[in-house]
């Protein structure tokens, strides 16, 4: 299989009036991998997800699905690609049409794309309900009869029933309690391995990210400020914002508890890392003294100021 990422965003930009919600974001989800997009509320991570799904019009940049540019397709042309690109949202309750039974909800994507007969669709939907750990008899129930975790399972079944290859999961576990959260993470992990899913996992929950993601992309104020394999992010974060996010993860053992540092926007800007040109594995794109995303060894990217002639 080629190295073409399953989903790639290039210089993706979205403005709301004067506010730049997503500012030239680059990221790639390789096949069969999970890329986590993390950041605080308002950092632009959910907007990035919606842009990638073409549910929100972007103002610049490209979206590539299996190497094909889908960013200029009309919604009509998009329909064929939507079978491959699916989504699970955070709010499990309002993600499901309250007027429909779970069976109808899960089977609906098949109907939209004209797959199979009505009876076959019903059976497939039942099969998927069982696949996500619900009894097949749930097909006749309504969303309000389920718990949050169960509803999220239904959302997952609905997203994957068409055999999607790329899943955008927008905080799918944020509204759940800890034990249920772990179940959903396990479910996603299992399905990801079984189906060879590629996943863009949007979250602010670093403990979930750590167990699920292959790569972590950190967003701050619409920009990607750091991007690295998960181990590296947790062991060797370079950007002050990433470090403060890691500090904010609750530690259960009081003895191991660190002093937490909460950084203001000014402090983060002031602490933007300075990296000497010799540490870079690739030439910086811009010849500027402003912060830019630069490449370090080990597939590690960080927003930094390139210090030309710094002494080691």
């Amino acid at each position: 299989m080629s190295d073409t990422p399953a989903l790639e965003l290039k210089q993706l930009t979205k403005r709301f009036g004067d506010f730049i919600a997503v500012n030239r974001v680059d990221l790639a989800v390789p096949r069969n991998q999970v890329v986590a997009l993390v950041g605080e509320s308002g950092s632009g991570k959910t907007t990035t997800g919606l842009l990638a799904l073409r549910l929100l019009a972007h103002d610049g940049g490209q979206i590539l699905l299996d190497g094909e540019d889908i960013s200029t397709l009309s919604q009509k042309q998009m329909k064929a690609y939507r079978r491959r690109l699916q989504v699970v949202f955070q709010d499990s309750y309002s993600s499901l049409d309250p007027m429909m039974t779970l069976g109808e909800i899960v089977a609906e994507p098949l109907g939209i794309h004209g797959v199979a007969t009505a009876a076959e669709r019903r059976d497939t939907a039942r099969g998927w309900l069982e696949k996500v750990g619900l009894d097949g008899s749930y097909a006749n129930r309504y969303p309000h009869e389920l718990s949050g975790g169960q509803r999220q399972r239904v959302s997952v079944a609905r997203a994957l029933i068409l055999g999607a290859s790329v899943l955008v999961a927008d905080e799918p576990t944020s509204a759940l309690d800890v034990s249920v959260k772990a179940q959903i993470v396990n479910l996603l992990q299992g399905l990801q391995a079984d189906m060879g899913l590629s996943m863009l996992f949007i979250s602010h929950d670093l403990s979930v990210v750590r167990s699920l993601a292959d790569e972590v992309v950190v967003m701050l104020r619409g920009r990607v400020v750091e991007r690295a394999p998960t181990d590296r992010i947790f062991s060797n974060a370079r950007h002050p914002y990433t470090q403060s996010l890691l500090d904010a993860v609750p530690v259960i053992d009081p003895a191991a508890r660190r002093r937490r540092t909460f950084l203001s926007a000014e402090e983060i800007t002031a602490r933007t890392p300075r990296i000497t040109a010799s540490d870079l594995v690739a030439e910086p794109l811009l010849d500027t003294a402003d912060p830019q995303l630069v490449a370090l060894a080990g597939s590690h990217f960080v927003e930094a100021i390139v210090a030309e002639r710094a002494t080691p």
């Binding site: 549910l55 919604q75 949202f89 007027m99 039974t101 939209i112 309504y142 309000h144 009869e145 609905r158």
Partner: protein, 310 residues
């Protein structure tokens, strides 16, 4: 579901009895009686004799029980203001113009309001949204007698397209129906816009888009179905307005409907007619709310299931 309906009917009957007692007491607590005219006062002995023939000298509780017993047999007595007639006959006669006016008013006002509200929700911040908001606010805030006067001024006086008032041939119906339809139109424009927006902003709509369902189908198969519940449930309550809300419109356009009798029966202490009209309104309200609840239960799976579980 059956149990749900039975419970609702019982509570409705209890409410109805309580309301009838309250109305009866209030009606009789207004000072004066049917024979206390100002211009030609009746001699006291004649008045007492009249009161005795009509049973008005009996204690109130007895009068109440007699009236309600009659009402149970659809005998609402004889209106004091036209002794040659019966209350039933009088109401049946005046009923038709009221129902025609109210029914057509809702029939035109509600769908236009729904369409306007839907268009406003789908084209937010466009001219149609502003138009719908403006119409809805005007329709709900300007009293219907001002709207009526405005309609008469524009269409009858300036443009001379329609007669200013009266009933009879359908040409005369146009203005009263427009005036009557203003409130349902405004109510539904607001309601439809709000419920549509509410449904449109749910994540399941985004999921449907992500699944590739066309926008038209999203709106007709999902959004409308969800938005319809609150819209349908306010519909029965609108029908009560046929009996009450048209009082002003009927007065403004001199429509020979029930409206005039509400005023005259109270003014003349015409107890049998007044009581009958009030019971009619209470009955309409009770039935319309019962219908609304049943409709709600039928349309909304959440209620349906709970009803079944009990």
């Amino acid at each position: 579901m059956t149990g749900f309906i039975i419970r609702r009917v019982i509570s409705m009957a209890v409410t109805f009895i309580v309301v009838s007692i309250v109305i009866f007491l209030m009606m009789h607590s207004i000072p004066g009686g049917p024979f206390d005219g100002y211009e030609m006062p009746l001699p006291d002995n004649i008045k007492a004799k009249l009161m005795a023939t009509l049973g008005l000298d009996k204690p109130l509780w007895e009068q109440y029980i007699r009236y309600m017993w009659g009402a149970l047999h659809l005998d609402f007595g004889v209106p004091f203001q036209s002794p040659g007639d019966t209350v039933i006959g009088l109401v049946a006669h005046a009923w038709l113009p009221s129902v025609t006016l109210g029914g057509l008013g809702i029939l035109f006002g509600a769908p236009i309001g729904v369409l306007l509200g839907m268009a406003a929700a789908l084209r937010r911040n466009s001219w149609i949204d502003y138009l719908a908001s403006a119409l809805a606010t005007l329709g709900l805030t300007i009293p219907v007698f001002i709207i009526s006067t405005g309609l008469i001024l524009v269409f009858a006086v300036w443009l001379k397209w329609t007669p200013a008032s009266g009933w009879g041939e359908p040409k005369r119906w146009i203005l009263p129906i427009m005036a009557y339809g203003a409130v349902p139109l405004a109510t539904y424009a607001r309601y439809a816009r709000a419920t549509m927006l509410d449904a449109l902003n749910k994540p399941f709509v985004s999921v449907l888009r992500a699944k590739g369902l066309s926008e038209r189908r999203i709106i007709f198969q999902h959004v409308l179905r969800n938005a319809a519940i609150p819209m349908v449930t306010i519909f029965p309550a609108m029908f009560v307005g046929i009996a009450t809300g048209s009082i002003f419109v009927e007065a403004m356009f001199r429509v020979p409907g029930l409206g005039a009798y509400f005023v005259s029966s109270i003014d003349k202490r015409d107890y049998p007619l007044e009581m009958a009209l009030m019971l009619l309104i209470s009955a309409l309200y009770s039935i319309s709310y019962l219908l609304a609840d049943i409709l709600y239960a039928v349309l909304n799976p959440r209620i349906r299931i709970e009803g079944r579980a009990r």
